[in-house]
């Protein structure tokens, strides 16, 4: 039983990196990033291609994934500066779909719709031993990300991005350029998503374009909205809730036989939708957070 729980924790840890990235971008800076799965996809494919066709060591693939995702965030950042937030949301949604289209079409590099099988595991071997080491590795990356995250939040940089979220014009009136901060935040969030993608590719062992649909972005949005926008605890709790919900429904099927499995998929999507609605209306600050009132 515990090996299966380790598997859930590993996937949760992978998704926490995505939630942290989005918390930094939306929770702290107010950037409506609906294209998060695009950076996740870039990280996954970089790791997959380099570790199979490129036959590079895994670490190289992971770092390359982070860099490429970060680089991809820069043009998005430049666009972000000139757009109102809901327009930016639509543009980022378009970005993640374009990434998926490029991955689908450029088969010479990405094997297109066939996907890339046989991606080496983070740590070889079978059973709970290696699984625990993988969990430790991804967990360690989480800890580093949280430390860096706290360092940023408690610093003048963190203060400034929250100021941008609260009132961008006031920041300009005080002689500071929001653009620089927005781009850095987008790049940081993208780097985290890239690393998360790299871990995902090595853990699942197979990547294909249809694993990177917008639904992944909205799952992460649901996690940070339920957990608590703008807070690390919110990102962690939210991701745990999301994974518990997505995986829990696997057991639910055994215990509630009258719900046919076909309906289970619709119920899962419906529950995600309902959570998004109810939390946005009745508990905007999420379970953990109360960023609206600091004291």
């Amino acid at each position: 039983m515990e090996a299966y729980l380790i598997a859930i924790l590993i996937v949760t840890a992978i998704y926490v990196l995505l939630s942290l990235g989005l918390t930094l971008q939306y929770g702290l800076t107010g950037l409506i990033n609906f294209g998060h799965v695009g950076f996740f996809c870039i990280g996954a494919y970089a790791a997959a291609i380099l570790s199979t066709a490129g036959s590079m060591p895994i670490a190289v693939g992971l770092v390359a994934g982070m860099l490429l995702a970060g680089l991809a965030a820069i043009p998005i950042g430049l666009v972000a500066l000139r757009l109102r937030d809901d327009y930016f949301a639509i543009v980022t949604l378009g970005f993640s779909e374009t990434v998926r289209l490029v991955i689908t079409s450029e088969g010479w590099l990405t094997k297109g719709v066939q996907g890339i099988p046989g991606i080496p595991k983070l740590i070889d071997g079978v059973g709970t031993g290696p699984a625990l080491m993988i969990l430790a590795l991804v967990g360690f990356a989480n800890i580093l990300a949280v430390i860096a995250f706290l360092r940023i939040v408690k610093s003048p940089f963190g203060r400034m991005i929250e100021a941008i979220r609260d009132n961008e014009d006031a920041v300009k009136a005080l002689g500071k350029d929001p653009a620089r901060f927005k781009i850095q935040v987008l790049v940081l969030g993208a780097v985290l998503a890239g690393l998360s993608g790299g871990f995902y590719a090595h853990y699942i062992g197979y990547v294909s374009p249809d694993q990177f649909l917008p639904i992944v972005t909205f799952y992460v949005w649901m996690a940070i909205i339920m957990g608590g926008v703008g807070r690390i605890s919110g990102a962690l709790v939210g991701t745990l809730l999301l994974m518990g919900f997505l995986e829990g429904s696997r057991f639910l099927r055994d215990l509630l036989p009258f719900i046919s499995a076909v309906e289970m998929a619709s119920i899962r999507i419906g529950a995600v939708g309902l959570a998004l609605i109810l939390f946005t209306i009745y508990r905007p600050q999420g379970l953990m957070g109360d960023y609206t009132r600091r004291k």
């Binding site: 039983m1 090996a3 299966y4 062992g205 694993q211 099927r253 215990l255 036989p257 076909v262 289970m264």
Partner: protein, 407 residues
Amino acid sequence: MTIDRRTILQAGASALALGLAPQGAFAQAEAYRIGALNPVTGAGSPYGSGMAEMIFAAVDEVNAAGGAAGRRLQVFADDTQTNPQSAVLAAKKLIEVNKVNAILGTWSSGVSLAVIPLVNDANILLMHTSGAPALSTPPANAKGYGYRFQATNDRFGRAFAEIAVKEGYKRPATMAFNNASGIGNTQGFKKAWEAKGNKVLAEVVYEPNQPSYRAELQKVLAARPDVIVMGSFLPDTTIILREAFQSGANVKWIIPGWAANPQLIRALGNEATEGVISVDSVANEQSASFARYDAAYRKGQSQPGASNVYAAMTYDMVITLALAIEAAGPGAGTAQINAKIREVANPAGDKVFSFAEGKTALAAGKKINYEGASSVLDFDEFGDVTPDFGVFFITKGQLERRYVVKI
């Protein structure tokens, strides 16, 4: 899946299995645990629940005949959602929580490619219905524990080429749904067709869920083909055939069976589907095994067995596996059972059409050759079945099988 006695019973059993040892007449030999990992939701949802249901039905049949090598078969069902991530997690649960000895019924190539490493690591069997060629060769099938009950995509392509030659077509074009199986079919056709020294006039790969496919159709029709070979699924085939008919094109079609089925005819009517050639790995309709499967499928899904060829395959998976367990004798591990699979299914040996028949023949010391419901089930060295292909012509709204193509 309708609510009936067995589903509730099964749920109780599986909840029981989470903690307690199984009871019942087979207390002495440990139950053989089967993981039914099927695409109940997502792109494979039209086939998934039928596939799962037939695994239960076949297991009931085997247990009713006294089990295999004294061991009762037990099933744990889970949903791949036709996506690799949840398939991997479901497989891990089946392997680590339910401790299954075999996983049956993964459908899409992506899912099987993601699950097969876990199966190899856990030294258990995987029987799937995916088309991707990568599943036959190492590293995916390095241990030979993977068996493919569906013809590979390029086998379909080769069958299409044979049919095109037989029907005297000279100017083929291809249209493929942009995913692994769609492109696998048209590439398979192109390879086989060009190997015969001919040329494919136009090739189009289209994206799913478009408001219209006219531009794609137009590009293909501009090359004036006499036949269009499709690698497609039901929804897109419905739209493309309708738009072709409504744009006045009169061209012949060769379409995989899962896209050119009774539902397509019901959607478009007889006139638009007249003369369409539907190709599918021929199920042994005449065989007694198909009759038993068909009865079980009608009882569970109240639909004809022929409408879900994948369910016939999962039915055969259980029977073949059970016969191999029986042949390997009590206390056999995966390796011994694996060694027996080709023995009980491939040609050398008396033809048997059910588990009971096979069991009595084995008991009498004879060699057997199980002829399945989905096909004759002769596995090559890669663990792939080499079925024949039934060629059906849609005439006045009926699927009429005219001949069989062997490759």
